[in-house]
């Protein structure tokens, strides 16, 4: 038996963990823990009911009203939702958002993973590089981002200067509707610091004995990556995937700042939440914005649930 195929056995040999975690089901001790559990949950429950649920339900209620922020809301039933069916700008924003999520999340995670793997090596100065690579993520939603991004992707930005060096004529990447979304994907990929750090942590957690076993087997670095690193990292990949998808669907600030709040050029960067904000605060149509918000919540919830279901087939838990 080769060392690699033994891996599976190794994993299975670990002491069986308790069935635990959220949704682990109420066991015998259920009644016993109730008091303690709810005591521990008290701050969260107060927060939930007083601060979180109230406004959430208010927005749910508003989703069925015509509410212009200044006058009292008026009940209009499902009208906001039926309007969504024929709102072409909304459909466009869904297309833009889905494209963005589908392209930027895998790219960002792949880059974060790649750099995490590279930076995990025992090469000198890695702490320095880590900090450097995290720096753009700190800038986050700063107003300066809009200007910085123009310095890179504007008609006279860095990219065009570099292209000119090799004799290619650039273009206004941000201002052309066909490439504007691409620059926002780049912006999101650029701020890969948080998932990178989490990947790094995940890599540190993979027991060295697996690699030693693989080394005995004479596995090359690619093979080690495929057979050990990747499978052992799936829980972390899953964690990042779930969070980044939720995050990307709610993506707002970067598009807002870069497009000057317009979602332009020509609605090409009109993310769903940007359009929602535009309706709510720009057009004083908070009822419609609330309806949009709840529709987005349903989309995200369904996708997250699907993600959890699918995870059973590809995510490998060590316990």
């Amino acid at each position: 038996m080769s060392a690699l195929s033994e891996l599976g056995t190794l994993r299975r040999k670990k002491p069986p963990g308790h069935k635990r975690g959220p949704g682990g089901g109420a066991g015998k001790k259920a009644t016993k823990d109730n008091l303690a559990a709810y005591l521990f949950l008290t701050p969260w429950l107060i927060g939930l009911f007083v601060i979180t649920i109230g406004p959430m339900l208010a927005s749910l209620y508003l989703a069925f009203t015509d509410y212009n922020l200044i006058q009292a809301p008026e009940w209009i039933g499902l009208e906001n939702f039926t309007r969504m069916l024929s709102d072409e700008r909304l459909h466009n924003s869904l297309r833009v958002t889905f494209t963005y999520v589908l392209v930027s999340v895998p790219l960002q995670l792949a880059l974060a993973l790649l750099l995490a793997v590279v930076l995990d090596r025992g090469v000198r100065g890695m702490a320095f590089y880590r900090s450097i690579f995290y720096l753009p993520s700190l800038l986050g939603s700063s107003v300066a981002i809009a200007i910085l991004w123009k310095q890179v992707f504007g008609t006279e930005g860095l990219l065009n200067q570099l292209l000119a060096q090799v004799g290619i004529e650039g273009k206004g990447w941000i201002s052309d509707p066909s490439t504007a979304l691409g620059t926002l994907v780049a912006l999101n990929v650029w701020t890969f610091g948080a998932p990178m750090v989490i990947f790094l942590a995940g890599l540190r957690q993979i027991p060295a004995m697996y690699y030693e076993a693989a080394a005995v087997d004479g596995a090359g670095s690619w093979r080690r990556f495929r057979s050990i690193t990747l499978p052992m990292l799936t829980p972390i990949i899953f964690f990042n995937l779930v969070l980044q998808i939720i995050h990307a669907f709610q993506s707002f600030t970067q598009a807002f700042v870069v497009s000057g709040g317009t979602g332009g050029p020509s609605d090409s960067t009109m993310f769903y939440t940007l359009y929602l904000y535009d309706r709510g605060f720009g057009n004083f149509d908070m009822g419609y914005a609330s309806a949009m918000a709840w529709f987005l919540l349903v989309i995200i919830a369904v996708l997250t649930a699907a993600n959890f279901v699918a995870s059973k087939y590809w995510v490998f838990y060590d316990d």
Partner: protein, 443 residues
């Protein structure tokens, strides 16, 4: 909404309240918004009144405005003014939120875009009914922009006119003489701009493209006997008019008078001091007159204001009008409308305030104040002041403020201009879609 509010606040509501407890939390929140709350600033025992005053702007404006507040408080020890400021987009989010929560500031710096949005829904006070606010010394044409439905909801805080701003240095570099803006037509304007583009040989363009804000369409419409919005709050342009507007835009582009679509698209949302005018890429562009100072500063050149070209070659027919660069409004829910009016009166009519503000918010509409501050203005502000004086004889009727929902037109027109310039829509398609969409937004 009404039944729910009553459910929560009336006597027999307890059972239902329990039954739909969660919803009621929400409803009570809304009820709070609908039936009053504490708007802060009250009068204390010794009759001192505190007012909240909101404005947007940059750091220069924040400082100057704070000085005005200080000088007002010195003269009115019983009135305390709390200044709150921020940048443009956050300002409107905050204002909408505070108004929704019945927590609006007493004195509000208002923009034409949102004036009717708030006024038509009863959030603003009719200044005609405000005690102690005088408009006697105002240039008559300047009040119209804040006046509708028989009330005055925004007091002009500075005069603005839509103009072409020109960079003499770029003209010189291209070896093209400055045009006579009193007689020029659109065709001459296109020719001149195209000539500059050719002479600059890739280093710049003759003029920026129009259609990047609603004002340019409004001016075009006014030159063609229409108006972007009518007095009764409807859209005043026809599909044919807008088609022609876009056809001419393409004509100018094809003549190389204006830059590429990419440049225009980037330029339309660039902050003023990063635009093509500030960076010296354009010999001419469209601008509001009160931006001359900022543009001159940013470009490092003494820029010049020109009248818009017209169809007929007569300056009196180029559609010019006085717009309010911004307005002073008072919240209708202010607990101290009298004191608020007193402060607005101070802002608009006192020489002390005028001498501090100068042309920070545009040329003062109060003619006496204007005469008083004129000699103290910085060169660029003095130039825009002179321009405003010069065109007074050529003005048409004031342009009605956009109706509720009309504040969105700027973004809509930018979008269709982009579509047309990138060749994604033909002028007539874009015109029709533009009109349909605007009609859908106006309430």
């Amino acid at each position: 909404m009404r039944p729910l509010i009553r459910t929560v606040s009336s006597r027999g509501s307890r059972r239902r309240f329990r039954a739909v407890a969660a919803i009621a939390i929400a409803a009570s929140l809304l009820a709070a918004s609908a039936c009053g709350g504490d708007s802060g600033g009250g009068a204390n025992a010794d009759g001192e009144v505190t007012l909240r005053f909101n404005w947007w702007g940059s750091d220069t404006r924040h400082k100057i405005t704070q000085e005005v507040i200080d000088s007002f408080q010195k003269e009115h020890p019983k009135i305390k003014i709390k200044g709150e400021y921020g940048e443009w987009s956050g300002y409107w989010d905050k204002l909408a939120t505070t108004v929704a929560a019945n927590d609006a500031p007493d004195i509000i710096q208002m923009d034409e875009k949102y004036l009717r949005e708030y006024a038509d829904r009863g959030a603003l006070l009719d200044l005609k009914k405000a005690d102690g606010l005088s408009t006697d010394k105002f240039e008559p044409d300047t009040l119209g922009a804040g006046e509708f439905d028989g009330g005055l909801y925004g007091l002009n805080a500075g005069i603005n006119a839509f103009t072409i701003v020109a960079n003499p240095a770029v003209f010189k570099a291209a070896g093209v003489p400055m045009p006579d803006d009193k007689t020029w037509t659109w065709d001459q304007y296109t020719q001149i701009a195209a000539q500059i583009t050719t002479k600059l040989n890739g280093k710049g363009w003759g003029t920026g493209a129009y259609g990047t804000n609603d004002a340019s369409l409004n001016m075009w419409a006014r030159q063609h006997g229409q108006s972007l919005f009518t007095k009764d709050g409807k859209l005043g342009v026809t599909p044919e008019g807008v088609t022609e507007f876009y056809t001419n835009l393409l004509k100018m582009r094809d003549a190389k008078a204006t830059p590429t679509a990419e440049f225009t698209s980037q330029d339309m949302n660039a902050p003023l001091d990063q635009g093509g005018m500030a960076t010296g890429k354009l010999a001419m562009s469209y601008s509001w007159s009160n931006q001359l100072n900022a543009l001159s500063k940013a470009s490092g050149q003494q820029l010049k204001l020109l009248r818009l070209p017209s169809v007929s070659g007569k300056a009196t027919e180029n559609g010019a009008y006085y717009k309010g660069s911004m307005f002073w409004s008072i919240s209708s829910r202010s607990k101290h409308p009298k004191e608020a009016a007193e402060f607005v009166n101070y802002l608009a009519n006192s020489t002390a305030a005028g001498n501090l503000l100068l042309a920070e918010r545009g040329v003062p509409p109060n003619t006496e104040i204007r005469a008083e501050v004129a000699p103290k203005l910085k060169p660029a502000d003095a130039a825009s002041h002179a321009f405003i004086q010069e065109i007074v004889k050529e003005l048409g009727e004031p342009s009605p403020p956009p109706p509720v929902g009309g504040g969105q037109v700027e973004k809509i027109i930018q979008r269709y201009t982009t579509e047309v310039l990138f060749g994604r829509q033909k002028p007539d398609q874009a015109a029709k879609a533009f009109i349909d969409e605007v009609n859908g937004e106006i309430k």
